[in-house]
């Protein structure tokens, strides 16, 4: 088997919630040894994230945690205890990377901030992932991704003009950050090989996310226009929307990118005369009468299943697709072909499927092991990495340092 890019790299990880653990996940599945520091005294909120097997919460029952923490090791350490901090410092001495996603003051309180880490391991690379960065007047303000999307501007640019801002109903910006973060960490590893020096990486969720909205930001600075949400409309295409289909909350997306595609759509709908209708014959005409256009198409799609509509329109060469629910992602033929969801067995969850990353390469296949149970590797790490004798491990457990 080909070796993974990060094999031999050790990450001491005290990330929790979303952005941090997802960053550490990518490092782990690409070969790094990620030691996740957890504690019963302060659980990673991810372990308490829905969905739970059989719907009942439990630290090892979360499908959310299983999805975002594969291939990691877990050690239980109560970082509020000085002895635990000492053990972490010893781990850091052996590590290449430290990752954390607490609010700005927590690590300082526990003496685990970069200046301290650097003393232990001069070439350590440390990454902090926060809402708004380590500096600036509002760095201390705590929050989470579902609400930060509002500050970043995603909410105001998502959904329909006549209703609430309505970004993806999940912490979206939390998932954007790791892609930037991993690139930065790899660049830092290269910097270390070239110069022998480590560094501190300050990731602000807000600042990374702005790049996903950059054209709207430039529109403001250049043209003074503060963009707002416009639903599914776009200047260069019509129709360009979602349309209701038979069943509860079923929708089909249709994007007509040219006049020729418009004629094809009309024929597929059994309304060839519509193509020549002067209200719709050209892009400009269709933009002018977009509401009427959407109504006609919606009336045609409504009585049909989304699968019927997609099949007819694809046959006709119209760009279309099901507005996929979770269920549809599991049955999508293309995603199945790629193996987007693969079973990775888990002692509590049984045979859950694991989400695969978006890339495939014969030379670099991710190593996807199940997520660890809480503290599953505590003894292993204490014994093999820290070199603690069994009686010392027992004492630390009794003292609730390993907790």
């Amino acid at each position: 088997m080909a070796s993974l890019p990060l094999s031999g790299i050790r990450v001491v990880d005290y990330c929790w919630a979303v952005a941090g653990p997802v960053t550490a996940k990518y490092l782990a599945i690409m070969g790094a040894e990620v030691i996740k520091i957890e504690s019963r005294a302060r659980l990673d909120g991810g372990r308490l994230g829905n969905p739970f097997i059989e719907g009942k919460p439990g630290v090892n029952k979360s499908g959310y945690f299983a999805t975002h923490s594969p291939s990691k090791m877990s050690i239980r350490l109560d970082i509020s205890k000085p002895e635990a901090q000492a053990l972490i410092r010893r781990l850091v001495e052996t590590a290449d990377i430290v990752s954390e996603s607490f609010s700005t003051k927590v690590l300082r309180e526990h003496n685990l901030h970069y200046d301290e880490m650097k003393k232990l391991k001069p070439d350590i690379i440390m990454i902090s992932l926060t809402m708004q960065g380590q500096t600036g007047p509002f760095a201390h303000h705590v929050g989470f991704g579902r609400t930060l999307g509002g500050l970043a501007g995603v909410d105001n640019l998502t959904g329909w003009p006549n209703s609430n801002p309505a970004a993806p109903n999940q912490p979206y910006t939390d998932l954007i950050v790791p892609w930037f973060a991993v690139s930065a960490v790899i660049a830092a590893l290269r910097h270390r090989s070239a110069t022998g020096r480590g560094q501190y990486i300050d990731m602000s969720q807000l600042e990374a996310s702005e790049h996903f909205l950059e054209p709207a930001i430039l529109d403001y600075f250049v043209n003074g226009r503060s963009q707002k949400r416009v639903g599914n409309r776009t200047p260069g295409a019509a129709p360009h929307n979602v349309y209701p289909c038979r069943g509860f909350d079923r929708w089909v997306a249709i994007a007509v990118m040219s006049d020729a595609m418009w004629s094809s759509l009309c024929r597929a709908m059994g309304m060839p005369a519509l193509a020549a209708d002067e209200r719709f014959a050209t892009l400009l005409a269709r933009k002018r009468h977009e509401e009427a256009l959407d109504r006609i198409i919606g009336e045609w799609t409504q009585p049909q299943t989304v699968e019927e509509v997609v099949s007819k329109l694809r046959e006709a060469g119209v760009s279309t697709g099901v507005v996929a629910r979770g269920e549809d992602l599991h049955s999508d033929a293309q995603l199945r072909h790629r193996g987007h969801l693969r079973i990775v067995e888990h002692p509590v969850l049984g045979k859950p499927t694991q989400v695969w990353p978006s890339f495939r390469s014969a030379a670099m296949e991710p190593e996807m092991r199940r997520a660890p149970l809480l503290g599953e590797h505590t003894h292993q790490v204490c014994r093999d990495i820290l070199g603690l004798p069994p009686e010392e491990i027992k004492r630390l457990e009794e003292a609730q340092v390993l907790f």
């Binding site: 070796s3 499908g63 500096t135 600036g136 999940q170 790049h211 279309t320 979770g326 390469s361």
Partner: protein
């Protein structure tokens, strides 16, 4: 840092953020466009609303730090010039439909023959193989088929997308991540590779628990500005006097007290109602009824409506209320935190005689890995520099190639 790596960027709108990220971290990026320019130069908005290939703000956004040449890859000369460029490059990023590069004799195998260490990153709507590989679908359809569109918009209305196409950026950022990993891999083991990125799957990787909800509970997570919390539904988005804010209440031992700073402010304003009498710390979310939640939300909602988003955020910062306003680009432009961190970058556009403000570092590091060094290239701006100086073509040869539509 990625200084010294040479990246050839052949992407259109599907994924130019990939090489932008590599360039921001120090790599040299050369954008190779078809004669006349990349089609993403047609995407608005435009500088002063003047549609022109050199004035697309969309193109600007994702092509800073790149040099630009034009080259017709469909011609024999174009192909051989590209191979000469690829022989000296570390990475090629491309977003043609599967099979196109092969048809030109420029796919991974062809390029590997001239550069055994090359990394080729391909970004396509559905990936290189499979039943849908040849469908060239747009952002709307990819957002739909990747599952994020279903999660966007109000619960009682149709799914509604994000105005700036997100699938292109999701694919681009994920491609950057795997490309940096591949470079690291190559530097360790000496071998290049071909990477196949699917945009649909990139969108699905922007979901947090949609797949697992179906997998484990056979439940389809849904869009909206409220979330299911136990047996009740709780709001996230609240209208205020001049816009919206995002906030949610907390109930549970150890969590309920997070509501108190807001209650204190509401009390000072005489609008607390009976909220202090509620079981914030006594109950768990699972024990709530929708009736009591609706009542709280009426009282909170009435209060937020009396305040502006600026005032609410000011109080939130002062009192440590876990809340954010929903900003527009205009709010972000004047946001104190971003200014204090010197986020905004002034970039010279000498062709227009102006400085343009761009979003800044996606990461701040002690070794200053991130930098914005140059504005996006004009169409064919560096043809002379690259073809004449780097590849050693004569002026006469360049004229020939230009007349033949190769460059």
């Amino acid at each position: 840092m990625l200084t010294g790596y040479r990246i050839l960027d052949l992407t259109d709108e599907k994924g130019p953020l990939c090489s932008r990220i590599l360039g921001d971290l120090g790599a040299d990026v050369l954008k190779v466009e078809p004669p006349g320019g990349d089609r993403s130069r047609r995407i608005g908005p435009f500088y002063h609303d003047e549609p022109h290939p050199n004035k697309s703000l969309h193109f600007w956004s994702y092509n800073t730090n790149k040099l630009g040449v034009t080259l017709n890859l469909a011609t024999a000369d174009g192909g051989s010039l590209f191979k000469r460029l690829a022989a000296r490059a570390d990475v090629v990023v491309e977003s043609f439909m599967p099979g196109q590069m092969k048809a030109w004799g420029l796919d991974y195998q062809d390029l590997r023959a001239v550069n055994p260490r090359i990394i080729v990153t391909s970004i396509t709507p559905y990936g290189q193989t499979g039943p849908d590989a040849q469908y060239d679908d747009s952002d709307l359809v990819l957002m739909a088929r990747g599952g994020l569109l279903y999660m966007s918009g109000e619960a009682d209305g149709p799914p509604g997308r994000t105005r700036v196409p997100q699938s292109w950026n999701q694919a681009g950022a994920q491609a950057a991540m795997v490309t940096t990993l591949a470079l690291h891999h190559r530097d360790r083991y000496g071998v290049g590779q071909h990477i196949d990125v699917s945009m649909q799957e990139a969108v699905a990787n922007a979901l947090i628990s949609v797949q697992s909800h179906w997998d484990i509970l056979r439940v389809n997570e849904r869009r909206g500005t409220s979330q299911v919390r136990g047996k009740v539904i709780g709001r996230y988005s609240w209208p205020c006097k001049d816009g919206y804010i995002n906030w949610c209440w907390w109930v549970a031992p150890g969590w309920g007290q997070k509501n108190y700073p807001l209650l204190e402010w509401m009390t000072e304003m005489g609008m607390q109602g009976d909220l202090w009498d509620q079981p914030w710390e006594e109950k768990s979310t699972a024990e709530l009824t929708q009736k009591e939640v609706d009542h709280w939300e009426d009282v909170f909602g009435a209060f937020f409506k009396t305040q502006t988003k600026a005032e609410i955020y000011k109080q939130a910062l002062k009192r440590r209320i876990m809340l954010f306003p929903t900003y527009e680009p205009s709010d972000l432009a004047s946001y104190e935190q971003l200014r204090a961190r010197n986020y905004w970058q002034q970039v010279e556009h000498p062709e227009l005689g102006v400085k343009v403000t761009y979003p800044g570092p996606f990461v701040q590091t002690t070794s200053n890995m991130w930098s914005l060094r140059r504005r996006p290239p004009l169409v064919g701006e560096h043809n002379t520099e690259v073809y004449e100086k780097d590849l050693g073509l004569s002026k006469q040869q360049i004229i020939s190639l230009k007349s033949a539509g190769v460059i």
